[in-house]
Symmetry: C2
Subunit: 76 residues, 2 copies
């Protein structure tokens, strides 16, 4: 787990998913994104593109921008 944008995004996604009490499987089902791909995103291994970011935001019922709010909590 690093502080690069992909890892930060992955951790933010895990956080939002857990706030809903959802498993990766549930989020995969709701977003239409493969669970194995989601796992890679959550581990910071995938450079996810805008349309999929929006699919995840829609599934989680959050504004797309909130998935990128990790920049506000970066370690100084």
């Amino acid at each position: 787990m690093g502080s690069d944008p992909l890892s930060l995004f992955g951790r933010r996604l895990v956080q939002l998913r857990r706030e809903k009490g959802w498993s990766q499987e549930k989020l995969a089902l709701e977003s239409g994104i493969a669970r194995s791909y989601l796992g890679g995103v959550e581990r910071g291994q995938r450079n996810i593109a805008l349309l999929n970011i929006c699919e995840l935001a829609d599934a989680l019922a959050v504004p797309a921008g909130s998935l990128l709010e990790f920049e506000r909590v970066e370690i100084p």
Copy 2:
């Protein structure tokens, strides 16, 4: 110009770029992203990925999430 996420993102990018008084050329230089690719992004023709979104945000000195704030101004 549609209301799909790629077009909305493109328009938001144009808005933030113009707020700085920057040309596409200037943003390309500052972000390290090719001007021709930026043009496609601004026209909503490119499914830009997270690392490039973060490069643009850094260049524009805005939080990455603010590039996705178009969802807050969608037409009802």
